[in-house]
Subunit: 294 residues, 2 copies
Amino acid sequence: MKKALAFDIGGTKIYSTVVDESGSVIDEISKFNTPKSIDGIKKVLTEQIRKYENDVDIIAIATAGAVNNSNTAVIGSTGNLVQGYSSIDFQKLSSKRVFLENDANAAAWAEYKIGASKGTSVSVMLTLGTGVGGGIIINDRLLKGKSGAAGEMHFKMYSDKRRKCTCGSWDCFEIYASGTALKLDAEEVLGDSNVTTYDVIQGVNNNDSTMISILNRWQNDIINGIKGLVNIFDPDCVVLSGSMAQFTDTKHIEEEVNSDIVTTPTSIKIATAGNYAGMIGVSLLGLSEVSDNG
Amino acid sequence: MKKALAFDIGGTKIYSTVVDESGSVIDEISKFNTPKSIDGIKKVLTEQIRKYENDVDIIAIATAGAVNNSNTAVIGSTGNLVQGYSSIDFQKLSSKRVFLENDANAAAWAEYKIGASKGTSVSVMLTLGTGVGGGIIINDRLLKGKSGAAGEMHFKMYSDKRRKCTCGSWDCFEIYASGTALKLDAEEVLGDSNVTTYDVIQGVNNNDSTMISILNRWQNDIINGIKGLVNIFDPDCVVLSGSMAQFTDTKHIEEEVNSDIVTTPTSIKIATAGNYAGMIGVSLLGLSEVSDNG
């Protein structure tokens, strides 16, 4: 069975393991702090590659940032990683094919192959974490767009400039649906800039009505955003993943969405492919390319 | 060369002509008022079909309303057409294949095959008329969704219930970007419910600064909506069609959009396939199916 040495490169951590073409993680998970320099990142990758290269068929990297359509490079910049990250020539790090995909896209692909959206023809995945990632699958293909940058969840929730998004624009879905957004909701309601996402969750667990209303407000914005995506894509399902997904009520979201769309009913699901979905997804994508070519 | 007897069934008019597989209109355009009964609509179609059936390869119908993925039936209801419209068994009207597609999807396909988005891999078309239609093409295929209802431009421009959309929901792109929206913008600014879209356009032509600011407000909402679509789809181009498209400044829209997106720059274009794009597009789609099958 073909195997990939997989990485997941994020703003704070780099993970690595080996994934086979069935989507199983077949080695230990290595974990590194993401170095603050290009050379540092290259060094982490190179050391793992040296160790595993001879035993795997490809190097598969799920990464923050948009990845081009030939899956060879990061395009544009990503705020969470060191400047110049997109200039790294990843292929130079190994004699094996080095296959990249955006982390949210990769995780969506894992859900589609072995997780919550398996067997669907159209699915939208939203990764609700510190920010919001998106991965859209249509007829067995990731939606990549002309340059590979598609699936960005930066559509406006308001048109009158209320909340600045991390992308520099105003009022994007990301800044109403992320963990950061929940903190901002709490700040606005409580007038206290020290309140944390954790405070809100703890309050909800203690049945605090103010904190519950803050969480509902956050979830309502997620519902409003999903309605638009469902009208645009008419998907079989919308999958919620990421650290914030556990705080949503998918049954409620599904009811609200389906009562207010012009397309046919969809289902809202929690991701099931696990914490290493990004590494699994990028490995399956990369390995299928190797299989296709011979 | 293969030919289609084409129809375009809208809320007020039904058009009909013959289109060949190069996308040329090769017969006169027949025009009918849309009957207010199912039997009346069937009668209009049947009479044209009788006349042309023996000389064409398929019957191709661009219609208001979503069309299923086998292109045989309208799904759900469409407010502009008589109740029960979606129950019509169109295939019963002819011994030739009767191929249906949503009018906005069909027009988008015409732009892709012979018009403004020819040669692109990802394009979004917005039909700005009384309402707003959408047609999205990705890698040589229309985006249809699980049931055929994809491409609906009902995503929210605000999340605090300002303007009721014709779909029954609140604050959809459609109710900020359509001709109806321009009238609503004028009503809000002028406090006069008798003002018409025509008044605004005439005022703009006469250099009336109030009317110019109303038109700019309307165009700004279109710009905000397009930004979201460009971040989601990363398209080569966005094509504007429909009766309202002529009042937009595509160069300005393009500059504004490209200065405020996280994906790579796109281009904004006016549709070029003409008034019969719906009939041309549905004919090309239907005829390609006949050709594909032998």
